[in-house]
Amino acid sequence: MKIHKFFAWLALAIGLIYFFVPLIAVFEFSLRMRRGVYSFDAYQSVFSDIQFRETFGFSMLMALLTIVFGMLLVVPTAYWVRLRVPQVRPLIEFITLMPLVIPAIVIVFGYLRLYNSSSWLPFTGSIQGTNALLVLSYMTLSLPYMYRSVDTAMRAIDVRTLTEAAEILGARWTTIMFRCIFPNVMSGVLSGAFITFAIVMGEFTMAALLNRPAFGPYLQLVGANKAYEPSALAIIAFAITWLSMGLLQLVSRFSKMAPSRP
């Protein structure tokens, strides 16, 4: 029993060392910009860089748009699959898992072939169009996480009976969706939103190949040209991801809307 416990702790310690030592090293390196003393100069340099603010702001906007449009696509889809066409559920699950199996570079090349400036839908013909295509491609990337989190939240409430209860009280489709279903799957929606936010903030392939000024390509650019700033940026990116994860935990812990059920 004691030996088992020892090995369990040993495995945990190895895991923690493997994960934290490089991180601590990166953090330590990011503080060495000023010769001989530790300082936050690298961070100051990053934050004072106008390109950092522009790319960070751009990626934030893209992330927000991805979350809003992603939810408008995923929540009604998950709802209809659950309520009206449960037989297509395996197909939908397969489709939502595709972005995990198809590399982002393949997807974006497909987009460029389909939506280039000489195609029927010339998304890449204008900046706004390319931005829209970027949002759509981010929606595709986040689909596996969004769909799963919303579907899990829907499993926790009796969607069919709630719909019928609202319907018999005179509610129309839009009222049912926005007043009875959306608020009750909010924990799933927010979970999906935070994961999406983390993905979009660090995404490189789509933004680079669509030539948009996003945070991911900026990270790569700084990494190729500077010494200490990339380490500071890596820590900042980690902090963003951890903040998203923390908020996700907070939302799921404080979600008090337990379903009404016998």
């Binding site: 409430i157 009796d158 009976t161 709630l162 019928e164 209860a165 609202a166 319907e167 018999i168 009280l169 005179g170 509610a171 129309r172 009222t175 007043r179 009875c180 608020p183 009750n184 909010m186 008090k256 809307m257 337990a258 379903p259 009404s260 059920r261 016998p262």
Partner: protein, 353 residues
């Protein structure tokens, strides 16, 4: 014309016909229970009235208006579900107010109406609570108030008490009946619990395999079951196999004993097999017991159940149970003892298959 008319209703799911030519007329303010085992079609009929299912054939008319072309949200029907189905994101007040808000009522109308409904269910002090903060019984009362708030023309109750514990079940069913009487609302109640149906209904529809086997008052259903299914499903009933002795004189033979029935059996032939039903509480073996009919038999078993003593006797190959009220001076029959069970001939019923 009746308030709610179900005419030639049929419903099939694929090849399976779950409701077979169902007809019924319900008067305004009546409390009707649909009673039957799982899969008999009672909930399907309820869902067709609500508009959740479309009949394969037949019409549903409420207050003279055909409901066929109306969607669920246009029918003005209230419904209480087995699973409560309260909106988890809304408190009690908002749940009850939901139907009124959807109907576009003003705040000045909604407030007093919700308060009135909450008073009706004695939960006005819990208006700010969320469903997860309430017990099952409280949630179901809120669901009832929510269904009644928009003043529906018909109230549908889909096994609303099934998920509750026994004590709450009894008190809530009495409360439901009292509220229904107070408001005079036409109500259809679906249940598989015979005691529930018998205790609160004006009329009961006993459903079997998609058909109404018998429609009648609780007393008729309990005391005068017309089919073997109704007799066996409602209460505990003795089924006694008999043979027609003399159809003209209404006599039958149970084993070697001859009994005269009150129900005419002239259409049957001598020697025909016949099933008779007798309630366990209809007979007595006490000395000087009243009854114009008697059956003698040997005691097979006798069990003391507290308020009653249930004894089983063997009569002409049939096992007949009967109950005696317990009292300090009542002697419990011993197995093997020969006893005579006396009862009124009117209690012996001929049942159809």
């Amino acid at each position: 014309m009746s308030f709610l008319v179900l005419q030639n209703i049929k419903k099939s799911f694929g090849q399976v016909q779950v409701v077979k030519d169902f007809n019924m007329s319900i008067e305004k303010g009546e409390f009707i229970s649909f009673l039957g085992p799982s899969g008999c079609g009672k909930t399907t009929i309820l869902r067709m009235v609500a508009g959740f299912e479309t009949p394969s054939d037949g019409t549903i008319v409420i207050n003279g208006k055909d409901q066929s072309r109306l969607k669920t949200n246009q029918r003005n029907i209230g419904m209480v579900f087995q699973a409560y189905a309260l909106f988890p994101n809304m408190n009690v007040f908002d749940n009850v107010a939901f139907g009124l808000k959807v109907a576009g009522k003003s705040k000045a109308e909604i407030g007093p109406r919700v308060t009135e409904m909450l008073k009706l269910i004695h939960l006005e002090h819990l208006a700010d609570r969320y469903p997860y903060q309430m017990s099952g019984g409280q949630q179901q009362r809120v669901a009832l108030a929510r269904a009644l708030a928009p003043m529906p023309q018909v109230l549908l109750l889909d096994e609303p008490l099934s998920a509750l514990d026994a004590k709450i079940r009894v008190s809530l069913r009495e409360e439901i009946r009292q509220i229904q009487r107070q408001l005079g609302i036409t109500t259809i109640f679906v249940t598989h619990d015979q005691e529930e149906a018998l205790s609160i209904s004006d009329r009961i529809v006993v459903m079997n395999a998609g058909r109404a086997d018998q429609i009648g008052t609780p007393s008729e259903i309990y005391n005068r079951p017309t089919t073997r299914f109704v007799a066996s499903f409602v209460g505990t009933l003795n089924m006694i196999e008999a043979v027609v002795a003399d159809p003209a004189n209404n006599t039958v033979k149970i084993g070697e004993q001859t009994v005269t029935l009150r129900e005419p059996i002239a259409e049957r032939k001598g020697g025909d097999a016949l099933t008779l039903a007798l309630r366990p509480e209809a007979g007595s073996i006490a000395e000087g017991a009243k009854g114009d009919t008697a059956l003698s038999g040997d005691v097979v078993s006798s069990h003391f159940l507290g308020s009653v003593i249930r004894t089983r006797i063997s009569v002409g190959g049939n096992q007949v149970s009967f109950d005696m009220f317990n009292a300090p001076d009542v002697k419990q029959p011993a197995p093997g003892e020969r006893v005579t069970l006396r009862f009124a001939a009117t209690d012996l019923l001929v049942v159809r298959e």
